[in-house]
Amino acid sequence: MSKTIRLFVILAIATTLVAANDERPGWLGAAMAQHRVSSDSTRVDWLTVRGIEAGGPAALGGLKMQDVIVAIDGKTIDFANLAESLRTFDSFRAGKPVKFTVARGTARITVTVIPARMTDAQYESWKFNRAQAKHQIEAEAAMKKP
């Protein structure tokens, strides 16, 4: 029987927007924790909102602290690992709406967030977070090895 210890990995999932020659992801203004199905699995089955920047796109779109995100753009969250979840968030682009299916209390609602353009400071912070995440991804890969 697999153990279902919940392991949260706080990610500063800042997302991006992109101008013509800009590789920056769109910025959401929200921090999310990943929920893993068990302590010995890298699979992620939902996200919880653990930080909202006042006035940021997530706040303006109506995302709230403690929201449990179960789907993004209609696709149920089932990330195989951290790398896959980061790819999803890095695909967000400024000005392109993202629909989050949210479990909030006893309700299920859809929240649309329009990512904003990352400022230089946010972009630097995002790069720093990604560098840190890289170590975790490597650790996850090592976990899979026999």
Binding site: K3, T4, I5, R6, F8, A31, A33, H35, W46, T48, V49, R50, G51, I52, E53, A54, G55, A59, L60, G62, K64, M65, Q66, D67, V68, V70, A103, R104, G105, T106
Partner: protein
């Protein structure tokens, strides 16, 4: 007695060329027809200035204020009208009184005639490019920019509510591309709904911005543009009124020019400078610059926003020797930092045994790290005398002992002698798992009355030793990758020690569900608990309200706090047999008045006790708790009996549904309303 008014003549000439202008001049009840030459003489009362307006089907002129006997010139343009459909909010009365105001090159802001019928509006304007502002009582003003002479038709939609409008610029000229943010003052300490009321606009190329649908209250307006200082002002917005901001100035960025004396740190290396910006809303700081002072003691940083900063000068090891709050509001702030340096030397021992250790001195004045040699001797510098907390870390053993209030006294020669003598106590032992296997990866913590007094890393064999803890009753526990141990109490006296074995366990996992009375799972509920050995737990329930966490070794139950949106905070106990929690919507309020400094109170419900802050709802980054009140905190809680404890004294309060129970931890009485 009736005084007959005295009428004198005012002569008004009209600049109409190159077009003809028919009509009348009107001054109160007096009218005068324009002559073919475009002039008129009008007789006005002499007791005051009087406004003269032009009534013409083909010309427009701004109202003119004339004095008796004077000759004035009224500048006239061709007349045009603009108007179109009028939309009002549902339920509004159809009659609204419109006011118009125009501004254009060569024309000061001037009132124009506007009118409204149930479904249409119109304003009479000069036939020139202009800006038009249309307002009506209780509605948000509408701005029409760059209306061209040929434009005749525009829709007008009026919304109710307060609004904030204004301009951003620099040196009197408008700035475009400025990001303007309107933040309720309450965001810093109110609730999430307020945070969502933060609005952002991009100022137009005229530097204009407008926020509509603004609720009455206090706000902060912030304007930012790259390469410019941030403009900021606070304002009040009244219900259904426009708040007009004259102009937010965004001057070029500022600079700090720092001179440090002496030019080098006590070890002869360059000083480091750290500059942090202090946020206005919550007084938190964020780093903005870091650099090294030149050999002649100079450091400069430009490109700075104006506002409050925190600047610190540190030695090469990172010890803070100078710290200053700055307010930068000029192009260049010149600052001289005269760094105080007190050379210190001394020894560190445990009983008679010298210790080779890292010594970390901490105080408000700074943070200094020194090293002692095999003889326990050390030397270095601190920025200030007084009392310091010192952590003595034996590097080789990975063990630290924390000393409080170590006195550093400056002698006549300007130096200080510091001898650190730790008690000759010891704690030794090993950490094993439930099968008796050594556990290598972890720490052992030694606590006294909830305060950490020492800690030690486990070596590869799972053993540890702790030196120099003050005699008295102690609590030890181990925290490892294999789990936590139970807490173990020991009494130590001077010159004695203890040998012990700590057993860690994976513990048991409890799986439960947060739900409402109808059985629906509640997603996003925060579950907080304190497991064995003081390990704090915070998890969030999943989409169907499910949660699970490790209870630690030897535990079958857990005291938990449930914090869910839309429900009051609940304190309860769950067990392996009854792991589910039912939340009820009925709530009361618990108000705890308290002092502004530690110790902080705890909240008890039955046998369960948690720090007061454990009951707080999550907040937006960097913001004060939603529960904050003038003299403490107010928390929505499940009705019932509570006790607030501080310093060993508890006060009881019954929280009834819909009522507020007040407890003042500075007094003994409990009030209930």
């Amino acid at each position: 007695m009736i005084l007959a008014p005295v009428f004198l003549a005012a002569v008004v000439s009209i600049q109409t060329a190159p077009f003809a202008c028919n009509g009348e001049l009107i001054a109160g009840d007096v009218r005068a027809r324009l002559s073919d030459a475009g002039g008129a003489t009008i007789t006005v009362p002499d007791d005051a200035e009087i406004e003269i307006v032009l009534d013409s089907a083909d010309c427009w002129a701004a109202p003119l204020v004339a004095r008796e006997g004077g000759a004035s010139t009224m500048r006239v343009w061709r007349r045009r009208e603009i108007g179109g459909p009028l939309s009002l909010p549902r339920g509004s009365r159809s009659e609204v009184v419109l006011r118009g105001e125009i501004s254009a090159n060569g024309l000061p802001p001037t009132r124009v005639t506007c009118s409204a019928s149930p479904n249409a509006w119109r304003c009479v304007l000069p036939q020139i490019p202009l800006d038009l502002k249309v307002s009506a009582e209780d509605f948000v003003p509408v701005y029409f920019w760059d209306l061209q002479p040929g434009e005749r038709n525009r829709g007008l939609t009026l919304e109710r509510g307060g609004s904030v409008s204004g301009w951003v610029g620099a040196d009197g000229a408008p700035l475009d591309g400025v990001r303007v943010q309107l933040t309720p003052a309450a965001v810093a300490k109110a609730n999430e709904r307020d945070a969502l009321r933060v609005q952002t606009r991009l100022a137009s190329n005229r530097g204009f911005f407008q926020f509509t649908g603004v609720a009455a209250g206090e706000y902060t307006l912030t304007a930012t543009k790259r390469g410019r200082a941030t403009g900021e002002t606070s304002l009040s917005v009244a219900a259904n009124r426009e708040s007009l901001i004259d102009a937010l100035d965004l001057p070029p960025l500022s600079a700090v020019d720092l001179r440090v004396s002496p030019a080098l740190d006590p070890s002869g290396q360059a000083w480091q400078v750290f500059l942090h910006k202090r946020e206005l809303l919550d007084r938190s700081v964020r780093p903005v610059a870091q650099g090294v002072v030149s050999v002649d003691g100079a450091w400069k940083k430009d490109g700075l926003d104006r506002g409050p900063y925190l600047l610190s000068v540190r030695d090469a090891s990172g010890a803070i020797f100078f710290e200053r709050e700055l307010s930068i509001d000029q192009p260049v702030l010149v600052l001289n930092a005269d760094v105080a340096v007190i050379p210190i030397r001394g020894t560190v021992r445990a009983g008679d045994t010298p210790l080779e250790a890292e010594l970390r001195f901490e105080a408000e004045a700074g943070l200094v790290t020194l090293r002692s040699n095999e003889q326990g001797e050390f030397s270095g510098s601190v920025p200030k005398d007084g009392h310091w907390n010192v952590t003595v870390t034996r590097i080789a053993q990975g063990q630290s002992t924390h000393l409080q209030n170590v006195a550093i006294r400056k002698r006549d020669d300007g130096t200080a002698l510091v001898d650190l003598t730790l008690p000759s106590t010891y704690l030794e032992g090993k950490v094993v798992d439930e099968r008796g296997q050594s556990v290598a990866d972890g720490m052992v913590y030694v606590m006294r009355k909830g305060r950490l007094v020492a800690h030690a890393s486990l070596d590869s064999g799972g053993t540890f030793d702790v030196l120099g803890v003050e005699p008295g009753e102690l609590v030890l526990f181990a925290r490892t990758t294999s789990g936590d141990s139970a807490e173990v109490k020991r009494e130590l006296s001077e010159g004695t020690g203890a040998l012990l074995t700590l057993i860690v366990s994976k513990g048991t996992t409890i799986k439960g569900r947060v739900r409402d009375a109808a059985g629906n799972g509640i997603a996003g509920a925060i579950v907080r608990s304190i497991a064995a050995a003081g390990r704090a737990i915070e998890i969030v329930s999943g989409p169907d309200g499910q949660f699970s966490f490790n209870l630690g070794s030897g535990s079958e139950t857990a005291d938990v706090i449930l914090v869910a949106a839309g429900f009051p905070v609940k304190m309860t106990t769950i067990s392996m047999q009854q792991p589910d929690v039912v939340l009820q919507p009925a709530y009361g309020r618990l108000h705890v008045a308290m002092g502004g400094a530690p110790p902080w109170p705890s909240v008890r419900r039955g046998a369960r006790g948690f720090p007061l802050f454990s009951l707080f709802r999550p907040r937006h980054d960097s913001l004060d708790p939603y529960e904050i009140a003038d003299d403490g905190f107010t928390i929505d809680v499940e009705p019932g009996a509570y006790a607030i404890c501080l310093g060993g004294r508890c006060q009881d309060a019954i929280v009834r549904p819909g009522a507020i129970a007040r407890i003042d931890t500075r007094a003994k009485k409990v009030k209930e309303q």
